[in-house]
Symmetry: C2
Subunit: 472 residues, 2 copies
């Protein structure tokens, strides 16, 4: 199947020099509604001893819209806490403050406070004071804990929204202290909190599940947000000296796990979930994911899972966390600004995870690949050119590379390039696969046994409209 590198040729060269210029009106294919991705969850699926609330405190103008979320662990023992933060150099104040709380608390915390509508980024000294004020006001909602924790802060903070504007901090503090903030553990409370995370999201992103380790049942709930400025690259606090983010996520579980093992499991999970999604290739100044594990499923004296003492239990937990984080991360891609497609980029046969991940990332951010996805065009030439532009630890051998389009419904995959040789492609079948909302691009490099998946969406007129045309 020959692939045109540049389609304007057909237009521009068929008549005058200016034939490639387009008419002033075009019909756009609108992104489908995503509201079916939010549904009710049984109260029993949420982790024990967490209470949550969402409310409108006035960061956003519209009175009916939530902009403040509070999540508290009611276990007296501080939960294990872990986080990954953006690697952007321009880290917002809440990122810097959360890093410090985690560090001083030695990986223990009991609360999370989140506002949307204002990112508290590029806000200087005032921004830091405001983030600390949110921490202290939320600390005050906690029951007194063990003496060992007195004097240290136990709240982590996240903000998302406008850059370069100070928080309306008195409104936020009043919101945290308000008696109208009704903390509860039912679905309605969790939904209300999830709504308070939203900015350009079109639905609240909330999931919960149960899982089993050594015969014991645990629960896990998660909230995240994000639709644009999404290409997170988040690392653990120690390595995060150059980071920043607009993906926000939190995961709460009643499993008991040591802070060190929780951080190590989270770092592993984030590389394979949130650090493997892209909407528009843009790393934000606020990207943050926080996990609290309060151990409330079992007796408070039960031993914490630790990778040194019980490797098997640790690995089970890590797999559960990775799988759950992947579910949450995929919701962000599905809600990507202007997205009409949800595409899995599956790179196999690499010599390392890092190489596979870099090729998958490059394909997932290629403007030419993403516009072809929007156009439902099985354009393997663009997939190949993007793959080849990455400098790998072992150079690509063009004669070993294969590209296949894989439908999501389990029907027969369509090879378009086999070991460097273009296939005669059945265009009708190609159109069938690419007209679906979900499908996979599988790239086999033929260099080794490692693989990585990335999740991306297409690049549509609506993306340009959302991000370029709002003033007109």
């Amino acid at each position: 199947m020959p692939v045109m590198q540049h389609y304007r040729a057909a237009l521009a060269l068929s008549s005058s020099d200016d034939a490639g210029r387009f008419a002033s009106t075009i019909t756009i294919k609108p992104a489908p509604s995503k509201s079916h991705l939010h549904a009710s969850i049984p109260d029993s699926s949420f982790p024990k001893n967490f209470v949550v609330a969402g409310s409108h405190c006035g960061v956003k103008k519209n009175a009916g819209v939530n902009d403040l979320a509070v999540i508290l662990s009611t276990s007296s023992r501080p939960a294990a806490a872990a986080a990954c933060f953006t690697r952007n150099a321009f880290k917002a104040a809440p990122v810097l403050v959360s890093q410090e709380v985690l560090e001083k608390g030695a990986g223990r915390a009991r609360a999370l406070v989140v506002n949307s509508g204002c990112a508290n980024a590029v806000t200087g000294k005032q921004g830091m004071e405001d983030a600390w004020a949110m921490v202290k006001a939320t600390d005050a909602l906690l029951e007194p804990s063990s003496p060992s924790s007195s004097g240290t802060h136990e709240t982590l903070v996240m903000s998302t929204g406008v850059i370069g504007q100070n928080l309306p901090i008195s409104k936020i503090i009043a919101g945290i202290e308000s008696k109208a903030l009704t903390l509860d553990s039912n679905f309605s409370a969790w939904e209300s909190a999830a709504k308070a995370f939203m900015t350009t999201d079109t639905f609240p992103k909330l999931r919960a599940r149960t899982f089993t380790i050594n015969g014991q049942t645990f629960r896990m709930a998660g909230i995240d947000k994000g639709a644009g400025m999404i290409h997170p690259d988040m690392g653990p606090p120690a390595s995060a000296k150059q980071l920043h983010a607009t993906l926000l996520a939190c995961i709460l579980t009643d499993a008991a796990i040591s802070p060190r093992s929780l951080q190590s499991a989270l770092t592993y999970a984030v590389d394979r979930s949130f650090n493997s999604i892209s909407v528009d290739g843009e790393m934000s100044t606020n990207d943050t994911i926080i996990v609290l594990a309060n151990g409330a499923a079992a007796d408070q004296s039960a031993k914490e899972i630790d990778e040194e003492h019980d490797r098997k239990a640790y690995e089970t937990f890590r797999e559960e966390l990775t799988s759950f984080a992947t579910d949450l991360a995929q919701l962000v891609v599905r809600d990507g600004e202007g997205a009409t497609k949800f595409v899995t980029v599956n790179v196999q046969g690499a010599s390392s995870f890092s190489d596979a991940h870099r090729v998958a990332s490059k394909i997932s951010t290629s403007a030419l690949v993403k516009t072809a996805l929007y156009g439902e065009d099985a354009n393997w030439g663009r997939v190949l050119a993007a793959s080849g532009s990455v400098q790998l630890s072992i150079p690509l051998d063009p004669t070993r590379v294969s590209v296949t389009f894989v439908p999501a419904d389990g029907s027969t995959p369509l090879p378009v390039l086999v070991e460097g040789e273009p296939e005669q492609v059945d265009e009708v079948r190609a159109k069938e696969i690419l007209s679906e909302e979900d499908f996979e691009i599988k790239v086999e490099l033929g260099l080794g046994k490692e693989s990585a998946k990335y999740w991306t969406c297409d690049f549509s007129y609506e993306y340009v409209s959302i991000n370029g045309d709002y003033r007109s």
Copy 2:
């Protein structure tokens, strides 16, 4: 000036979940015509002892459209030749063949043959044979040279167009051998050759100039092409083991310079010109720039410029070549698919050229920056987030970074961020600057004395239309 990270918020949150979904028809701002960028050039400006031709041989269907160019040096002494090739792993056959011709010819060559309409990329063994056939047919057009060059090939080859399709090689060979191929040295012949380079270009890209070294006048002419899949990263042959490209460029000069110094000057020039432009962040499989210097301006026995023997003359030549290559490279950005803006990204105060270049590249490829440019929005938050996402050799210090929008007409620049502090921006003045077709985004990092410039365009509805919608 507060900057919204996500503009959909204002829409999505003001009413229902689906309020962010857009109407099915939008009005687009069409890219302006670029035809004024092609104009007549006096015959006397073209370099001596080069003859050129362009014709239609049948790669493209439309009979009136050129698709074959031949450029010959008529000096009996082989010209010094230098090239940079794409770093893409999937190098097209003409790239591999030109690398071998250059290597075996020890940096000497006398001819160049170019076809458009088919890239001869991902074409396996047949593709290599076809590229060699083009070389041999063009070699046969050359007058017999000095005995030393007999047996070696003296033609370099470039192709651009469709990927994954074999060349109609018999038509191309017939075109090269045709008596209708009238080689000449006047403007009309150069224009005809430039037209044969075009694919999605909306105008032929041809420039010529004269320059002086040590009192002697020399001439330089150049042709290039490209509009999409433009983010070249080209290196000299020795380092190009992982490369590939769709920017094509050639520069012909009647200066006399040694092959080694020509390559060194070209590598320097390409980093500051063709490797500093981006239309869509996409590195192609065929990107190639070739320079031939035949020394015809002076006596054939005149000594060649060499960086070891006459550093000053070499540096003058290098500056001329860099300036000329920059002119040619900028034409590609001006003709970028869907481009309505031509924007200079000027990064200053870096600790190295490489750091400055990487920050400039990131800003120039940011989808959020480029859609903001289309929307004429002085969105410094997006410029900052893009800058901060680059890992530099010396980490960025947010309190030292300044961002300024600089109008092209010499009027007062508009600072939007000064040493990390947002300015109160005069929105009317911002709109004035950003509504112009040309302007500059200046970013001062405050870390050192090195700088780099990048040239980019905006991201428009038309880009999506050209690359995503052609089948509908």
